[in-house]
Amino acid sequence: MTISVWPDNKPLDVAAIRDLPEGERAEQLKLVAKQVRRLVVQMIDIARAGHIGGDLSVTDALVTAAFGVLNISPETADDPGRDRLILSKGHCAAALYSVLALRGFFPVDDLETFMKPLSKLNGHPNRLKVKGVEANTGPLGHGLPIGVGSAVASKLSGKNWQTFVFTGDGELQEGSNWEAAMTAAHRKLDNLVVIVDRNRLQQGARTEDTASLDPLADKWASFGWEVAEIDGNDTAALLKAFTQNRNGKPLAVIANTLKGKGVSFIEDRVEWHHKVPSKEQVELALKELA
């Protein structure tokens, strides 16, 4: 089996997207997001494993940050001043790998090795194996503290990069996030953005039936963060939030999303946290994402 990407084999010039005017940028980002979703479905099909629900919900936010806003490229991968994208919800490595492959960090064909013996594409990302990965996540609640450290380093070094951290919503039940949230606000880290993939589902149930998070925007605001609550599957809304005025504070983007977004029979269903689609379901999914 081989991974297919871009309809009619006509790749977008992804490196150019960041320089487009905002409206056009949002439209192109939508196309990239669709490709990422197609890659995710194919990777999980080949590996017969993965976390499809969370991959599909976080895709638009990841794509918007990586291709629309941040200075992230293979050419600048070792540049000390590069922007940092940290996927704290590391179980969604397939989405991150797809983004990195489309951005040219490694060949798209390598995605076929996802979770295969000795592959660099482990089930959770490893910065020592894959350029573009900034943090070895997997245990939930690690990304934000690392992000805070990165944001402090950015200021201390005077290099002024941006740090974007993507967390799950269930993940916010880990206390480490709130410890980091306090540090970030205390230190006025206006170069730090946390994107909460608010799909309202965790591994075994709805967040609000497990350990409720609402009112989530108020929580971040009370911790001293600037807050934007938006449609997290809308690239235009994401672009706007990522570039909004932060008033000297760290910014929390509550990205309201659908877990499994883009594939009707996966959307908003708890059992699709890490279920693997059958061959027929893969075909259906790719049709819906055509």
């Binding site: 979770m115 295969k116 660099k120 245990p139 206390g175 075994g204 497990t210 350990a211």
Partner: protein, 318 residues
């Protein structure tokens, strides 16, 4: 089971045994509760939840909180079975295990689900290979590694009866039964179960490695090398007597575990030997962060197989 026959191909699920036993224990004793971290499915607690909805406390994805909550429940007269994936239970909540469970001397059963490299290709963050070292280092905490479903159930009986602070591994992948048919109980706290009386080499194993050691015993027997297999299902306190006896009656020991070598079963055996009866030994375990691969692939990768154990044994006695 015959000492020199290989283990049966039929395999059994420790998590199913765990789930059934937990429900049976809870039926008999209203003090028993389950505490988990968004791990109802992965800990096989669905049936428990349906039967005792009020007695399942799912705190969400919050392991430090989970173990602290268990201590509070124990303080309030309950017997918590804390059920979470091994890496996060032993790693994330280590200090709670030390201060709130062991130092506070609460009867809490910390059930480390899917231990060792059971999570295969999910990678080192999800491998629980340091847990035996970390947990052994904590005073007043018993550390159990049942090797099959019968042992799992018997260990749970013991846990409730003893009222002790306990850390217990619960395997994810199906395993052959390693409990000899003639045993009255599948698990005796603090006692190593010995299969065979071979005088060439002692194969000392725990958990998933026990069935592999039994296979190695058969491989070696075919070559005329006589081995005995020590199934260590209580890692702490260690059964020094049986280890010393094996050292005295054989030419050496091969120790195998699905975990790191620094501080686990091998370290316990090593200290026992050097203080009492220095002997030749070879230690097999997980020697680095694993590459990507399935559980079976990785066991193979680190030589944690019947062949790996037999090879080490041959070198020792040869």
């Amino acid at each position: 089971m015959n000492a020199h026959s290989s283990v049966s191909n039929e395999t059994f699920d420790c998590r199913v045994a765990f789930s059934e036993k937990l429900i049976a224990l809870a039926e008999a004793d209203p003090r028993i509760v389950a505490v988990c971290n968004d791990s109802v499915g992965s800990s096989n607690l669905n049936a428990f939840r349906d039967r005792f909805p009020d007695r399942l406390i799912n705190v969400g994805i919050a392991e430090q909180n989970m173990v602290g909550v268990a201590a509070g429940l124990a303080n309030g007269g309950f017997i918590p079975f804390v059920c979470a994936a091994g890496p996060f239970l032993s790693g994330r909540a280590t200090e709670q295990v030390k201060a709130d469970v062991a130092y506070s001397n609460y009867g809490i059963v910390l059930c480390a689900m899917s231990p060792g490299m059971a999570y295969g290709e999910l990678g080192p963050t999800h491998h629980s290979i340091e847990d035996l070292s970390w947990m052994r280092a904590i005073d007043n905490l018993d550390v159990l590694v049942p090797a099959d479903p019968e042992q799992t159930k018997a260990a749970m009986d013991w846990a409730v009866k003893s009222g002790r602070p306990i850390y217990m591994r619960v395997g994810r992948h199906k395993v052959p039964s390693v409990t000899p048919a003639d045993r009255d109980v599948a698990f005796t706290f603090g006692k190593i179960d010995v299969t065979g009386d071979g005088s060439d080499v002692a194969l000392v194993a725990t958990g998933t490695l026990v069935s592999r050691a039994l296979e190695a015993q058969a491989i070696l027997a075919a070559e005329g090398i006589l081995a005995r297999v020590l199934n260590v299902s209580t890692i702490k306190p260690i059964d020094a007597e049986t280890i010393i006896k094996a050292a005295k009656e054989t030419k050496g020991l091969v120790v195998a575990e699905e975990g790191v070598l620094e501080g686990g079963l091998g370290a316990a055996v090593s200290m026992t030997l050097s203080e009492n009866h220095p002997a030749k030994a070879k230690f097999l375990g997980v020697t680095s962060f694993a590459p990507t691969g399935s559980n079976d692939f990785l066991l193979e990768h680190f030589g944690l197989t019947a062949k790996g154990i037999a090879d080490a044994a041959r070198k020792l006695v040869g």
